[in-house]
Symmetry: C3
Subunit: 435 residues, 3 copies
């Protein structure tokens, strides 16, 4: 492993510092404070937000918690990869929000400047969500350097797709089922396909959880579950639509949770619940209700979407993920296809149905369908290209035996590193002798 690590020795710091310096220069040239005078090209900022520049701040913080605690801890379920899960999550999101703010608003500059409002900070956080979703697909099998490259490329492509969907196709996607969840998932699956590891066909000792790592993951799950109403409503255009989005998401998630528990128990041989399902499928209702969160589908409609999402997500974890790995060469560590992929498509389809039923003013099923297809297309092609770039040997992809192991990239407390689990002091001295 020394050779491998030495290899990484300078690449991570040099890449991170160069990118950070570049971003600082770009911010010096283009980014200024929001002075409250709205540039009218930003169609998300309603008038009320201008007079109260911090009205959205509590929702921004909820989204912030989802990005950094939610996604970060959700991935700590792996027994030996918790440092990377929450640590690299922080690294990628910290880079992503800086890059995302540039990429997203590059299209909306007035007089060559970008004004930073809370609304745009929320959108910047959103852009990082795509990367964190894709990170879940390749978790444990990629180096930090590869992931920094993925962050830059994915957010660039995401911003392009978002621009097409929102500005050109004029589709509605307030909770971003299509542009974030489906996009992030299929982008990540496409990358995972490119980085397929035949050597991991039969699994890996560290590709699993222990008791307390599953509890750490539940911190992520529960914060995501609670704050999802903020995610889906933060950028709604009017307060009434915002309330509607909160309400729809609240009920969709509650119904989804029951469906996920029921399905998890149903598909397990002995009727037991599976932590993987509970950690993930309980959230599928938040994903699936995203596109039509601000449409008047009724609490009833939101709950139906939630139940369907909870069922297909759980069934996906049980039956699809193994097939993806064995037949399609897609090793999806966190099962993002089940949490973000299928529920994201379900959200897109629900949006088509809801607009066809006239549940949203100024929205049409044609545009919604085009937006869904567009997002999937950008994701699959963009992910494939990004995967090829990430495959270049230069970025230091870890060998199979070092996958799912923090000690490749982190100083791990000694006693843990040696044994994979915490030891008694008595055992400790013994194992030192043996080693």
């Amino acid at each position: 492993m020394p050779a491998y690590s030495t290899n990484m020795r300078l690449k991570l710091p040099i890449l991170a510092l160069i990118v950070q310096v570049l971003i600082i220069v770009l911010y010096g040239l283009f980014v200024v404070y929001d002075d409250g005078k709205s540039d009218h090209k930003d169609n998300h900022t309603s008038e009320s937000h201008d007079s109260q520049p911090l009205a959205l701040y509590p929702m921004f913080q909820d989204v912030h918690v989802m990005i950094f605690i939610g996604f970060g801890f959700l991935m700590t379920f792996l027994k030996r990869y918790g440092f990377s899960s929450v640590g690299i999550n922080l690294l990628l999101a910290a880079l992503g929000l800086q890059w995302g703010l540039l990429m997203q608003n590059f299209w909306h500059m007035s007089d060559g400047i970008i004004k930073v409002s809370i609304n745009r900070m929320i959108n910047a956080d959103f852009s990082t969500a795509t990367v964190l979703i894709s990170f879940g697909a390749v978790l444990g099998k990629t180096s930090p350097v590869q992931l920094l490259i993925m962050t830059l490329l994915e957010i660039t492509i995401f911003s392009l797709n978002e621009h097409v969907v929102v500005e050109k196709l004029e589709a509605s996607d307030v909770g971003a089922s299509m542009t974030i969840h489906a996009f992030g998932a299929y982008f990540g699956l496409s990358v995972a396909r490119m980085l397929y590891r035949p050597g991991l066909r039969n699994g890996h000792d560290n590709d699993g959880s222990v008791y307390h790592s599953d509890l750490f993951a539940m911190i992520g799950t529960v914060f995501l579950w609670m704050f999802w109403p903020s995610f889906n409503s933060a950028i709604a255009e009017t307060k009434q639509e915002q309330l509607m989005a909160v309400t729809n998401t609240y009920f969709s998630l509650a119904a989804c949770a029951l469906a996920a528990y029921a399905t998890s128990s149903l598909v397990e041989e002995k009727g037991r619940l599976d932590m993987v399902h509970i950690q993930n499928a309980t959230l599928a209702g938040g994903v699936a209700v995203g596109t039509c969160a601000d449409m008047s589908i009724g609490p009833f409609g939101a709950m139906v979407i939630g139940v369907i999402a909870g069922i297909i997500s759980t069934v996906g974890f049980k039956f699809l993920t193994p097939v993806f790995a064995s037949k399609l060469g897609i090793q999806d560590t966190c099962g993002v296809h089940n949490l973000h992929g299928m529920p994201g498509i379900l959200g897109g389809l629900a949006g088509i149905v809801a607009t066809a039923l006239g549940r949203k003013h100024n929205a049409s099923p044609d545009k919604q369908a085009a937006a869904l297809a567009c997002s999937l297309g950008f994701a699959l092609v963009g992910g494939a290209i990004t995967g090829l770039v990430m495959k270049l040997p230069f970025w230091g992809q870890p060998p199979d035996q070092n996958c799912f192991d923090d000690s490749v990239y982190w100083e791990v407390p000694e006693e843990d590193e040696e044994n994979g689990e915490s030891l008694t002091h008595a055992d400790h001295s013994k194992s030192k002798t043996e080693a």
Copy 2:
């Protein structure tokens, strides 16, 4: 255990799905979005909330965190029951909030419909709190199916009591010391009495904590402690009363924390602190100041209440809980009598005193006393009936030896399941041979 599990195989999913479908039908018939036009029968919604439909949203999210993170993680102190603590907590609360919104507003329908406002979502979250408190009394000794039954029955009875207390008796209970905390505690104790297990008289190996499970529990404690001012003030009628409720709760909790630490050290033989006290008794001040949170008792009065609550709660854990188990046949796993029961009654009494002293306009000690008696009566009788229903063999109550053990209801990571604690890889192979 296979026989037992098979028994459960279909009951949990079938019950959960039937209830969810029933709820969806009821929501389709009765529940609509809030359109901002207040129906005047809802006496909690002040005018200012109507013009700003999301004004209460940050407080709603604080309460949400208390319900799902606070209660969920507080119960993870058990060494082998963390999955159930945080997982079943999520299941029950997700069901409870859907059911609670129906039950609570069944009394307030105008034109046969229920409008979902943030205020009502907060109240729906509140209704689940009663169930989660009672859950604490029977933690580790009940099946998920039994708990779903308890959720439906308890919230129904809670809503009836709340209707009587608020609408008929016109009592004041802004932070719900009586209607949530005392009610939930004595309901749960009544259930626990019905489900008394003589076989656990001498304790159970898994009815205890390990080092890191106590730290997980502190996540719950601290979030409850921090956000309790939101719990006690969320549904206050005016902004000035809301500020008063925040202030009273803030100081009551701070004073309570010091009293709990002092008492914990005092009652332990060697002067050490006990995690059980710190995890729970530090919160008693929030419970006890609930009823008079919006009364002008002064920061001084709030602190006095907090100190008394911290002392009686700690003393209860040390001296009462063992007596309850040995003499009264009440095995109160989390000690909810000490955290919610006695402090809830203290809160009710404080409300009687405060109204007698004229600290709240339009409130009388007679009505407050009636409300306290009414809540205790509904709790004890309702809990006893619910306990009898839960005792029906059909619901699959776990045998004594399977109590406090996640592996009955959950797929537990293999190495953990075998040994009750995490293992070194070396030990792991050895224990496999032995097994």
Copy 3:
């Protein structure tokens, strides 16, 4: 150890109760609710806050989370000191906020009373932050009684310094780089110098982390990181300055995170990341941008400050902390010099530069420089005096071998106490025989 514990038996409860009773009496005499009628001596309360008394409540809660979850869990990295880290943190902060509110507003009483507004509750929380920072310097080496004494003295001295800096020197320090971070750090280092333990020169077995304790610490890190914009903006005078402070802190932290990761990898021999750096140095950008958070330094300027802070903080952990311990006799357990000390001074210097460049109306570099010198002076002298008081044998300072060990002050679950780490059941019986 019995002798030692018996020694403590009555001191902690008696001291805590006496102080709490004293505080209650003082609150009874001086503290009343905020009635919305601003006393004009409080220069932080702008008019808009008076008409909306709870406008700052969401930011207050963010700060609350930083104090109780952020600081508390950040210090759980020690393998055997998690109970004390999060538990004593709660005790000190609960006392500190009550004491802080008195001390800070003693200077601003009108008609002999103190009105409790949300703004003042935020400031009371702030005052506890100084104590929690200093706690980090002496973590594991002081008794709860010593720390209660430190809390009372440090907050008194802090309030005096704050009064001089804000009212007399009229310096600007919205995010309190100087008055909280630099003050708290150098106060704590000064105390640590007084309490120097030659017996710990060669380290201590328990002065380190294990895998899951590092993950618990990340809960603290990430919540601090996310909510720091609230800390730096909460008491800004106008909404526009508040937005500016949020924006500056958001970008400073993002840039700082990348710099900390890059530097951590750069300074480690094999290019690996060090959890100590990630847990701490990623936050240095929040500290360093504090003083000029409400100055128009531009996102560009904020990022430059963040990058410098991330680099010096990481370098400090790697190279300075060992030197402090070996050459200066300052054993800084959490490395607060690197997270709060140097970045705090950097923040003060940045404020001098920014005001010299005219980035804030009504602020001058002279006053800023005087404020920085004043804060450092009060911290070093106040810390030295406090350290001498804490050294009195009466307070029960733990002997060297009992440092970094919860079991001195806490009932620790039996199996853990014996072995320092969780055991298998099989091992458990064995080790009992051996012991």
